[in-house]
């Protein structure tokens, strides 16, 4: 039973939809810049990859109330683009799910309210939603999409949206649902900016993943979704699916709460598991979209694990120099990029890369590669808590 990708949608610092993202990827246009939207004391000193639209502009575009969390606006725009792109005849007649991921829920909205709460625990500004209510954002968007049959939210740190796609695919394979809109979203918040800053893993310049002299990550925001469909639904589509989800796996590094094991045990198991499910060999993978955050620890663990599995490492790159690390959204956004890679026979460069890491025998792609045959793309995402997930997208001939 194949699970096809019928549609995709994305919003990130490099574009408000799929076409704009693809154009920026091709034009080597980074989204990392000075912070202009999030009100923070680090606006001038720590760069990030923000969606360059205010909350009011986003709310107007997606039709939600401008007082709602920014995360919901991003989610709504990308999820709706994905559903429109899929253009499924009789959408309502199928059993449909919305499986979304995020890591800090309504934080961008509630961290403001929390300030008033600290001054007065009985403030009129108190709302029902907790800062960490991840499901709140999902329900706002599910309501807009008119999806009711199965709604849930996954929050496994930076691997969240891979797990959302995998869970959706498993529900389709088990014949529980016919269509699943799956992916993730996250908006910038002071909470995450200060959190990563306190861990001293933010680069104060645009990030350089997999570089020997990498200094850390840049945070970003956005959302990315795919529409997963069963074979039965795929047969009814006017636009033939270009790709299918051929493998996925979720493993745990069980090493440390926030750091990866030096040998990348969890990373290895996730990639291995995805390969096994897809029944592909390492030689079949044409491109790996790396987790590649730019931190010393992540890139080393991931790189060592890739080397161990692949030996002869295929073309690899991190697209985070374009989008920043979008946390709960990153695997959703990178899923869209992986599919674009297959559809357009194109491989995106790892911007700003200069020096090969001394521990690794390979280095990432540094120039845009066009007219290369791309049939299978692996996309990695690893997070706090040792959560490691990999997914493989394959061309549907």
């Amino acid at each position: 039973m194949k699970v096809f990708i019928a549609g995709k949608g994305v919003i990130s610092a490099i574009g408000n939809n799929v076409a704009e993202n693809l154009a920026s990827l091709r034009n080597l246009q980074t989204g990392v810049s000075k912070i202009t939207v999030l009100p923070t004391r680090y606006a001038e000193t720590i760069p990030a990859a923000e969606v360059k639209l205010s909350n009011e502009e986003l709310a107007q575009r997606c039709g939600l109330n401008s007082g709602e969390p920014r995360t919901a606006f991003l989610s709504s725009l990308a999820a709706k683009e994905a559903v429109d792109d899929a253009n499924i005849p009789n959408f309502k007649k199928w059993r449909t799910g919305f499986i979304s991921a995020n890591t800090v829920g309504a934080m961008d909205k509630t961290e403001t309210i929390y300030k008033y709460y600290l001054e007065d625990s009985n403030t009129d500004k108190l709302i029902e939603e907790d800062p960490y209510d991840a499901g709140y954002v999902t329900e706002l968007v599910a309501n807009q999409l008119g999806i009711k049959d199965h709604i849930t939210t996954i929050s496994t740190a930076c691997s969240s949206s891979t797990n959302a796609m995998a869970y959706g695919a498993r529900l389709i394979k088990a014949n529980q649902l016919d269509i699943v809109v799956a992916g993730g979203c996250d908006a910038m918040s002071k909470f995450t900016l200060n959190g990563f800053n306190s861990l001293m893993i933010l680069d104060t310049n645009p990030c350089t993943p997999y570089d020997e002299n990498r200094k850390g990550l840049n945070l970003g925001e956005g959302a990315g979704y795919v529409v997963l469909v069963s074979e039965k639904v795929a047969a009814t589509l006017t636009k033939k699916p270009t790709t299918f989800l051929s493998g996925y796996a979720n493993a745990n590094d069980a090493f440390h709460q926030t750091a990866s094991s030096p040998e990348g045990k969890g990373n290895f198991m996730a990639m291995q598991g995805a390969l096994e499910m897809s029944e592909l060999t390492t030689k079949d993978i044409d491109y790996i979209n790396l987790h590649g955050t730019g931190t010393s620890n992540n890139d080393l663990s991931e790189g060592v694990a890739i080397q161990r599995i692949f030996g002869d490492v295929p073309k690899v790159s991190s697209t985070k120099p374009y989008t920043g690390h979008t946390l709960g959204a990153c695997a959703g956004i990178e899923a869209v990029y992986s599919i674009l890679s297959i559809e357009n026979n194109i491989i995106f460069p790892n911007l700003r890369f200069q020096n090969k890491m001394k521990e690794l025998e390979f280095s990432p792609v540094t120039e845009l590669l066009e007219n290369v045959e791309v049939n299978h793309v692996m996309s990695n995402s690893f997070g706090f808590g040792g959560n490691c997930s990999s997914v493989i997208f394959s061309k549907h001939q």
Binding site: E128, D133, A157, Y167, R170, G195, N252, Q257
Partner: protein, 370 residues
């Protein structure tokens, strides 16, 4: 994680239509009652004269070293310990996989971080609380402690959080995994408590947790807890009963629709209302939402013994995990404690149906004693 081709189990489908179900082979529960000791079953019910119930702590030195106990937040301690109790109860060192649900993650510890960054206006904050702030902290902490490298998932969706973890566990078994540690955990933070007060969701004080279902007063009492279970394909000497299946539904428009969901859920699981001995209802003390539950109790569940549980653990979004624990204990002991009976029809707890809801999230679970 999976091997779809070798699917030979009796297990069929997560949302119903399943035959034998999964065996509950280990349980662990830490709640506002003394529930951490599996050799007891609500021998004494704890009475609270407040609208906020907090967990009765277990002896954490049995699970963690002194340094860890100091560093860990409250929920991290009782959430992780509940998972370890379930594993030990099942006699397992490492589960096949871990899947958990938490509506709000670790609010106390994350708000400590939020508070500090607001107070110092983003200047210098310590990463200690940030590190523990992700929703998957408890689930991954258990993996870390028992060295479980397998599938590890955390669902964070309001009143569907635990339910999604259960579905995940069932899918894993379908994919040929076994001994899945599944659970849920939430805590009532000061902020949540203040918000519940402000939005009038909370019952006014003075109030008594043992008297919330009557005419007197309106509103829920805030609660919290953690409950974990080992779900497996095979029965063991320690088996509590079987978890047959579950179903969630979103935003039903009428009591009639809820009724139809209940009846079709039972049918999908080759059961019927006549087979059900005990109904665990999610009645909470909030008049408006209880109206539907009372209607169903009066007009649909006319021959079943009806029991309630939110006076024991309070209202929170993953309270259905406490109800799962209650069902497990009743099945194994074949006893229904007086303290949970709302309507006694003298039925022994063989087939148990749970119907709970939180706002727009409605859930059904079916259990069968072995």
């Amino acid at each position: 994680m999976s091997n779809q081709k070798e699917n030979k189990t009796v297990f069929k489908a997560p949302f119903g239509g399943l035959g034998a179900g999964l065996f509950i082979n280990g349980i662990g529960c830490i709640s506002p009652q003394r529930t951490f000791d599996n050799s007891e079953f609500l021998a004494e019910v704890k009475e609270y004269n407040t609208n906020r119930l907090t967990c009765v702590d277990a002896d954490y030195t049995k699970f963690f070293d002194a340094g860890s106990i100091r560093r860990m937040g409250r929920l991290m301690k009782y959430g992780t310990a509940a998972g370890m109790i379930a594993l030990r109860d099942a006699g397992l060192e490492v589960p096949g996989a871990i899947s958990t649900g938490t509506a709000l993650g670790l609010p106390e510890v994350s708000q400590k971080f939020l508070k500090s960054l607001i107070e110092v206006d983003e200047t210098i904050v310590s990463p200690t609380t940030f590190i523990q702030s992700t929703h998957n902290t408890v689930s991954s902490n258990i993996a870390l402690l028992c060295k479980c490298f397998s599938h590890n998932n955390t669902f964070s969706h309001k009143g569907f959080s635990f339910e999604s973890a259960l579905t995940d566990a069932q899918l894993l078994v379908l994919e040929n995994m076994n001994n899945i540690l599944v659970g849920a955990y939430d805590e009532v933070s000061d902020y949540k408590y203040a918000a519940m007060k402000k939005t009038k969701e909370l019952r006014g004080e003075p109030c008594n947790n043992l008297d919330i279902y009557g005419e007197k007063g309106n509103g829920v009492i805030a609660g919290e807890g953690a409950a974990f279970f080992v779900l497996a394909k095979e029965k063991t000497e320690n088996t509590y009963g079987s978890f047959v299946g579950n179903k969630t539904f979103y935003k039903p428009e009428s009591t009639e629709e809820i009724r139809n969901h209940i009846l079709s859920f039972l049918k999908e699981n080759n059961s019927s209302l006549e087979d059900i001995d005990v109904v665990i209802t999610g009645i909470s003390g909030a008049k408006e939402t209880d109206a539907t539950r009372i209607d169903l109790n009066k007009n649909l569940f006319t021959t079943q013994t009806i029991i309630a549980y939110k006076h024991l653990c309070g209202e929170y979004m993953t309270s259905s995990a406490f109800a799962f624990w209650l069902a497990s204990k009743m099945m194994k002991s074949q006893q229904i404690p007086d303290s949970v009976i709302l309507e006694n029809r003298n039925r022994s707890p063989k087939n148990i149906l749970l119907y709970n809801s939180h706002k727009h999230n409605h859930s059904l679970m079916l259990f069968k004693a072995c």
